[in-house]
């Protein structure tokens, strides 16, 4: 009973159900094999392909906890990738690790700056978050184009390629990066008072002010963290294809990220947030994407299928909906 009451019970149950359903279509779905000392398998693929979404959703969780939202993460994914690729393309030796590191650092610093801009608009200027970040969502794609002179920049850099396709101790590098960032953010928010103060600001901004919380700084930090997470995701996305496409990299990832956060049990109204929930939410969405392919849904209805599953998912999770179903059946008996 108490297991069912846990707030992550339903997301986890849905994830497990979705994974199991794949077994009907792919018998070897859960098999993981070691090839050349590297792990391979469908589940590993989900983890690897889900890493960028997990990172973006992680940052989004903090922003949503403040009662805000960040629509610009997709654009930041594109800008970060564009910045890194443009930088690498200009190197004499694209295989030089030092040069690649500089490019990565530049991309992340730029991402952080964009996050600070969002946070500034929201907390200092006082623009509603959905509008404030909409500015960068729209303008950001243009910024990415400007960085790459309107071209799709292709790079041929083994070190950069490693970010998305490499292995460390047999585990895909993007999975390690995502796990590391998730762990870092989780530890910092919960070990310091950052998480609690963020929840306080998101839960009741007026009361938080009267309790002496300087919400401005906290909100800016949340947007910066969110943008840096999106920046890391942008490196992965562009590294996967070794090119930066300002128009298409990270397209619509903000919506999947928001969905992952909500599935994970964090309210869009702000307040209490759950990083574990977000991770499960992101995996759920990626599993769903994979399922669409494995069961051979035609591409033209794939999005519709996904939408239907997401609606069912949200309904199953809603305590109000479950209560309604539960009440309808035994009501006659009880009365």
């Amino acid at each position: 009973m108490s297991v069912v009451r846990h707030r992550l019970f339903w997301p986890v149950a849905m994830l497990v159900a979705l994974l199991l359903s794949n077994l009907f279509f792919t018998s070897g779905f859960f098999s993981i094999e070691v090839r050349d000392g590297h792990l391979f398998g469908s589940v590993i693929d989900i983890l690897r392909q889900g890493a960028p979404l997990m990172l973006v959703a992680l940052g989004m969780t903090l922003v949503i906890a403040t009662g805000g939202i960040d629509l610009s993460v997709g654009a930041v994914v594109a800008i970060s990738g564009a910045m890194a690729c443009q930088q690498i393309a200009g190197l004499d030796d694209q295989g030089a690790v030092g040069g690649v590191l500089v490019a990565v650092a530049l991309a992340l610093v730029l991402s952080g700056g964009l996050g600070a801009w969002n946070g500034f608009l929201v907390s200092v200027v006082g623009i509603q978050p959905i509008i404030a970040t909409l500015i960068l969502m729209v303008a950001g794609r243009g910024v990415a184009q400007v960085i790459t002179d309107g071209q799709i920049v292709n790079v041929n850099s083994p070190p950069y390629k490693t970010i998305a396709t490499g292995f460390l101790f047999g585990i895909p590098v993007p999975v390690i990066i995502a796990a590391g960032v998730v762990a870092l953010v989780a530890v910092v928010t919960r070990r310091s008072a950052f998480g609690m103060l963020l929840e306080s600001v998101g839960g009741n901004a007026g009361a938080s002010r009267l309790a002496g919380i300087r919400s401005r700084r906290l909100i800016i930090i949340a947007y910066v963290v969110c943008a840096v997470c999106a920046g890391v995701a942008g490196l992965m996305v562009s590294s996967t294809v070794s090119s930066a496409d300002g128009n298409n990299n990270g397209l619509l990832i903000e919506l999947d990220a928001i969905l992952a956060v909500v599935i994970g049990g964090t309210s869009l109204l702000g307040g209490r947030f759950s990083i574990a929930g977000t991770v499960i939410g992101a995996l759920l969405i990626k599993t769903l994407d994979t399922t669409v392919y494995t069961i051979g849904i035609p591409p033209e209805v794939a999005l519709l299928f996904k939408a239907v599953v997401v609606v069912i998912l949200c309904l199953v999770q809603s305590p109000a909906f479950r209560a309604k179903i539960a009440r309808r059946q035994p009501a006659e008996v009880a009365a």
Binding site: A207, S208, L210, A211, G212
Partner: protein, 508 residues
């Protein structure tokens, strides 16, 4: 008077929440043409019972019958259709809509699917007339005082053909003349044969208006009484279920002696402090160990004074000095640095973060002062919280439950605890006893006395003059957003003289 048939009967009502039995076999009978008071301390189950009655909660046990027929409400809407209308303690209206829209929202007369605005206005005016309220129904609700908003909520409840009217703490934010006005309305409704269920913490009001009462304690019914047959003392005993020593301690305590205080340099002094549109420039000094009461009608500027002294609003003229040194209060943080604390009037919107736990709410101000990077160690948190949960008798004594699940009195104590752990020099208490039960009220009053005996300066704001006089060394009187008088609380001072000062706008 022969016993008529009850209009509404609730029998054996039970309601459980996770970990809590909120109601356990409670009976309630409402008679037509009677005002029935529902009494009990905070957490006794009054609000839960009302929510069951109005369909907001679904009860686990028991049954409800209305006019002899068994009913089960799936939601508030059905209850309202059946003739049970409610005005909740917290006003559930939309401040950004007009008065007329608020009165008739969801029930606006339409023609061919279009709202007939002239009919809406006319109907709203009629309903407000019934309450003798004369305001422009086209104005935004938010521009009116809480008292007027309350009346609008009642007008809204009366619009449907109500057989039962539930008033949950309708008087907690009304001043005396507004209460009289409300009571006139309630008597009128009685004569129309409506059964009125009245929830309040003001015992005097119960004796003035109620015919009958039901007393709850800890989710059970203690009994049903005719008001004429139960003395006030017995009522209080029934409500709190313990001897009245704690109450009498406070009631009988001699008036605080002014002479005891050494008035050296004030802890906090305001000199010509003011803010245009909020409060006219005032000067006020609060000394170590002194309780200064702020008296005045609703809207006279009491909260505005508090907010200026805490830096929640910025003064546009005058100065504040702490321990004789002028300081600039740029916001709540800088007031906290000066060891000034403020428990706001509206604890739910301005005080607590409801989804956070009791522990987190208590630790919040201290943590805010330290900044996010320097967390109060968990062991230290648990120790501090445990100490104050015990000292203030916060119930349930579980620091890890959301503060939302606590009753009003206990929430107020959580707020007090939040500021007490910051060890302030000046504690500003804005209506700390409003809407909480007698037991908790006495405890908070006692706490104020203890704090000031311990050397803390207290600014005590309350609409209840008796309470202000009982606790304060000095009473500052506000009227129309001006500080009009400062009265030493010596033997000669009584509520009549304070009233006179409020009424005349000068020293009586």
């Amino acid at each position: 008077m022969p016993e008529s048939e009850p209009l509404l009967v609730m029998r054996g009502i039970g309601k459980r929440f996770p970990g809590v039995v909120a109601l356990d076999g409670v009976d309630l009978r409402l008679f037509p043409g009677e005002v029935h008071a529902l009494m009990g301390e905070n957490g006794a189950g009054k609000s839960t019972l009302i929510k069951v009655l109005t369909g907001a909660y679904h009860h686990d046990q028991g049954d409800i019958s209305l006019a002899g027929e068994s009913v089960a409400f799936a939601g508030p809407h059905q209850a309202r259709q059946a003739g049970i209308s409610t005005v909740y303690q917290e006003i559930n209206l939309c401040p950004n809509l007009s008065v007329a829209e608020n009165v008739l929202i969801g029930r606006a007369p339409t023609r061919f699917g279009r709202i007939r605005w002239s009919a809406v206005r006319r109907r709203a005016e009629e309903l407000l007339d019934r309450l003798h309220l004369n305001i422009d129904v086209g104005s935004d609700l938010g521009t009116h005082s809480i008292a007027v908003q309350q009346m609008v909520a009642i007008a809204r409840a009366l619009d449907v053909d109500a057989k039962v009217l539930v008033l949950d703490e309708p008087t907690s934010s009304l001043d005396a003349s507004e209460v009289d006005q409300l009571f006139r309305v309630m008597r009128g409704l009685k004569e129309e044969g409506i059964a009125v269920l009245f929830v309040t913490h003001f015992l005097d009001q119960v004796y003035e208006i109620a015919d009958r009462m039901t007393v709850l304690r800890n989710g059970r019914r203690v009994g049903e009484y005719r008001t004429a047959e139960l003395s006030q003392l017995d009522l209080v005993a029934a409500m709190i279920g313990k001897d009245l020593a704690v109450l009498e301690d406070i009631e009988e305590a001699p008036r605080r002696e002014v002479a005891v205080l050494e008035r050296g340099t004030p802890v906090v002094s305001a000199d010509g402090l003011g803010r245009a549109g909020a409060i006219a420039p005032f000067s006020l000094a609060i000394h170590k160990g002194e309780v200064v009461g702020l008296a005045g009608l609703l809207g006279s500027g009491r909260t505005e004074v508090a907010r200026l002294l805490f830096g929640a609003d910025r003064a546009d003229q005058g100065q504040i000095a702490v321990d004789g040194e002028p300081v600039a209060l740029r916001g709540p943080q800088s007031a906290m640095r000066q060891k000034i604390a403020y428990c706001p009037e509206n604890r739910r919107t301005d005080g607590l973060v409801e989804e956070l736990t009791v522990r987190e709410n208590i630790i919040l101000a201290l943590q805010a002062d330290r900044g996010w990077a320097r967390p109060v160690p968990r062991g230290k948190q648990d120790e501090l919280v445990a100490r104050y949960v015990r000292a203030l008798d916060i119930r349930p004594a579980d620091p890890e439950i959301p503060v939302r699940n606590l009753s009003g009195g206990n929430q107020q104590k959580v707020l007090l605890a939040r500021w007490l752990i910051t060890e302030p020099k000046l504690m500003i208490l804005d209506e700390p006893t409003r809407g909480i039960d007698v037991g908790a009220k006495a405890e908070i009053q006692k706490l104020v006395v203890e704090l000031s005996d311990g050397g803390m300066a207290v600014l005590f704001i309350s609409a209840e003059l008796e309470e202000v006089l009982r606790l304060s060394h000095k009473v500052a009187v506000l009227r129309d957003r001006k500080l009009v008088a400062e009265l030493d609380n010596t033997d000669g001072l009584d509520t009549d003289r304070v009233m006179a000062a409020i009424a005349s706008g000068g020293v009586a």
